[in-house]
């Protein structure tokens, strides 16, 4: 029956699109456009990076008897400046401080660690809590000013006293000077000792402990740059096999590599490419085939890729075509020339799996985002907007009208706002909680549990 709460996975059996109920939290980040969103491995923390080089971390409230209705709310936990703008004097160009990606390390002690990167430099940040401080120094007073030694008559031992919780972020490692081109991806290895960073032409492997050296594991730079026709667009380690990773290209191909076979993984172990559909061929075929994101499923059995118009799921054991293809916004196919002219065709949408790999999600224009249930084959379009986002609002599915009569509540293709694009989304690792970044607003949608 319509109105039953739950996500797409809980849609009713009779097939009509159920309205889904969500608790919604909206955070507005002052001034800056969110450029990446990532839950940590437990889902307790949610990190966002923005164009201004800042990282904001949200933490989920613990269950509390005093305020049971606030269980599960996310609130700001820590904010810090991760990257600053730099100037490359050799090229006379600015290096943007925009955070391209954040990746969490699994938690191994009381502190949290994350990697954040801009175009050139990766940094390892430690986020830790301090709730005690030492008091009673002999040589300095509580403000830190030095005391006059001649005035000290008594010796005392400093003690730790409780203080208001303070969350500090400190940069523990800076991994710099290893990328000539712009870093598009970072991925923590399942060995938790190494990670990789990928730019347009190369992928480097780092050890967390060593900052002055990284090893090149993929290099597609041609001897003559004028022969360059393909770049690396995304890369990720396999979630369980620490020797395996994939990288995607601007020509719509995915290569799976095994680091055990050779030091330089220019020869792939598997090559995933779907043959072109001749009936859909156009001038823009190559551009729209360029893969903007690649993600392993949690199980490690599948990879999901996002190109301009579709999301595809590939079985690692089948290289010649994807096992599933989902149309995100096929109505744009007739608008490709305009989208090429205004550069929208180069927008890099990301895609995410839910915790059980049964639902996939990706963004679109007009602040729409789409979810596809792989089992039921149902899909839904939702909107991240202020009007829809009162707490406990029922999120209404949206629909784009592609021609003919436009029904009430439908939006026509020509009315879509292409400046409102949802490029970055994240899904809680185990629960039905999603984070959607719409320009400078972060929306957190949470499944309402009765």
């Amino acid at each position: 029956a319509p109105g039953r709460p739950g996500l797409v996975t809980g849609m009713d059996a009779c097939g009509s699109q159920a309205a889904v109920t969500y608790i919604v939290f909206v955070f507005s980040l002052p001034a800056d456009i969110i450029s990446t969103v990532e839950f940590n491995h437990t889902g307790e923390l949610l990190a966002t990076g923005d164009k201004g080089g800042r990282v904001v971390i949200f933490q989920r409230e613990q269950e509390s008897k005093n305020q049971p209705h606030r269980r599960g709310e996310y609130n700001v936990y820590s904010t810090f400046q991760s990257h600053e703008p730099e100037f490359d004097y050799l090229k006379s160009l600015e290096i943007e401080e925009k955070i391209n990606k954040i990746r969490w390390l699994p938690q191994q002690n009381a502190a949290y660690f994350l990697l954040s990167t801009n175009d050139k430099t990766v940094k390892l940040w430690k986020v830790s809590e301090r709730d005690k401080r030492p008091e009673g120094y002999n040589l300095k007073d509580e403000d830190g000013r030095l005391r006059d030694p001649s005035m000290i008559t008594v010796l005392r031992v400093p003690v730790l006293r409780p203080m208001d919780l303070m969350v500090e972020a400190t940069p523990r490692r800076v991994f710099a000077n290893a990328h000539t081109y712009h870093i598009n991806s970072i991925s923590v290895n399942s060995d938790y000792e190494t990670y990789m960073s990928a730019d347009d032409l190369r992928i480097n492997l780092w050890n967390f402990e060593i900052t002055n050296q990284s090893f090149n594991i993929v290099d597609i730079k041609p001897a003559n740059m004028e022969e360059l026709t393909e770049v690396i667009t995304a890369a990720e380690f396999h979630p369980h096999h620490c020797n395996t990773f994939v990288y995607s290209s601007s020509k719509g191909t995915i290569r799976l590599c095994d680091m055990r076979t050779a030091a330089l993984c220019d020869r792939h172990a598997k090559f995933f490419e779907e043959p072109e559909d001749p009936s859909n061929r156009s001038f823009f075929s190559e551009i729209i085939s360029s893969i903007s994101d690649v993600k392993f499923s949690h199980s490690g059995r599948y990879i999901m890729t996002r190109d301009y118009l579709t999301v595809k799921v590939w079985d690692l054991n089948m290289e010649n075509r994807p096992i599933e293809t989902y149309q995100v916004h096929d109505y744009l196919r007739s608008k490709l020339c305009s989208l090429y002219e205004n550069d929208c065709i180069f927008d890099k949408f990301e895609c995410v799996w839910n915790g059980s790999d049964s639902v996939i999600m990706t963004g679109s224009y007009n602040n729409f985002f789409r979810m596809f249930d792989r089992n039921t084959k149902r899909d839904v379009t939702l909107e991240a907007s202020r009007e829809n986002s009162k707490p406990r609002a029922i999120l209404k599915p949206r629909k784009v009208c592609v021609g003919g009569k436009r029904r009430k509540d439908e939006i026509s293709v020509d009315s879509l706002d292409f400046s409102k694009k949802i490029l970055h989304t994240a899904w809680h690792p185990s629960e039905n909680i999603i984070a959607v970044a719409a320009t400078n607003n972060l929306y957190i949608f949470q499944d309402k549990v009765n």
Binding site: K91, N204, S214, F215, A223, K335, S338, D417
Partner: protein, 314 residues
């Protein structure tokens, strides 16, 4: 942005402009196909050359736009339309475009051989250690794997044996004028080119062309820099065009009076201030293709010659 009413007629009415390709052989649709192609070509050129960002342009975007332009150019060549814009003028351009044709099928081959020259891939021993990323910036990667012994220590950049032919002597001359690392890179590229059977001419021709383009230079991070290496693939495309139209008439050439002192680090001992004119004179005998950034100067020179002829002769 799209949306509020179709300003562009083609979007709404011309089926041929958007979406599917109309086969060029269809009679009545051929015009709209040609129109579509020309429009996209113009848009692509505008994107590449009107964009003056403060930050480095996206390489992916540049590559995709460049591929688009090449595809259209290929089509036009195959159709035999020899409009001045697309004339593959004399022999240097043809080998270049042959290179493109070679390169692209090679790359798109499904077995996907690596883009490194095949010989070097085969000489790279499997048991060789991982290449430290710092070495990549030598751009002498074609020789560095052979030199590696242990991973953690950075091997010294290998000494290169310059091949003594007319090109390398030309490059040596250029080296006199320009930062030393550029020649190292050019010689490396030359050896790479020689070994990979590609015509040795092209890569060397285009390396010097890249010199004045300081804005898109590749930066060497730790070791002596390879110099101002033209990384925008668009340069290759430009050399195919005879630039006699408005496209480059208003290029701001102040950018091209590059000061070598700002480019290389350390070892460049032969740096001397070089003006674009000197560079042009050096390059002119070795390349019948106009050097891109100096194009305006070349136009001025020929115009000047022309004027001189008119004044003195006739």
């Amino acid at each position: 942005m799209l949306g509020k009413g179709g300003k562009r007629k083609f979007d709404e009415h011309e089926d041929g402009l958007e979406g599917k390709v109309v086969s060029p052989t269809d009679g009545p649709s051929k015009v709209s196909y040609t129109l579509q192609r020309q429009t996209i070509f113009n848009i692509s050129l505008m994107k590449l050359y009107n964009h003056r960002p403060l930050t480095e342009p996206s390489l992916q975007k540049t590559v995709l736009i460049n591929n688009m332009l090449r595809r259209i150019q290929e089509e036009l060549k195959q159709e035999g339309s020899l409009r001045p814009m697309f004339v593959a003028a004399s022999q240097p351009a043809d080998p270049l475009s042959d290179n493109f044709r070679e390169a692209q099928p090679a790359f798109s081959h499904l077995a996907s051989p690596p883009l490194l020259p095949a010989d070097f891939v085969s000489t790279m021993p499997l048991e060789s250690c991982l290449t430290p990323a710092s070495l990549l910036e030598d751009d002498t990667f074609c020789t560095s794997p052979a030199v590696q012994h242990d991973g953690p220590t950075k091997p010294p950049p290998p000494a290169l044996q310059p091949v003594k032919d007319s090109f390398s002597s030309a490059l040596d001359e250029i080296e006199e004028l320009c930062p030393a690392p550029t020649s190292a890179e050019a010689v490396a590229a030359e050896s790479a080119a020689d070994d990979s059977k590609a015509q040795p001419g092209e890569s060397n021709i285009h390396k010097p062309e890249g010199l004045p383009e300081s804005r898109t230079a590749e930066s060497k991070l730790m070791d002596p820099l390879p110099g101002n290496f033209e990384i925008t693939a668009s340069t290759g495309f430009l050399t195919d065009l005879t630039l006699d139209d408005i496209l480059f008439a208003d290029i701001d050439t102040s950018m091209y009076d590059f000061d070598p002192c700002t480019s290389a680090t350390g070892a460049a001992s032969k740096m001397a201030p070089v003006s674009a004119d000197e560079l042009l004179k050096t390059l002119a005998p070795y390349s019948s293709q106009p050097v891109t950034p100096n194009q305006p100067f070349k136009m001025d020179l020929t115009e000047l010659d022309h004027i001189m002829e008119v004044l003195v002769g006739s």
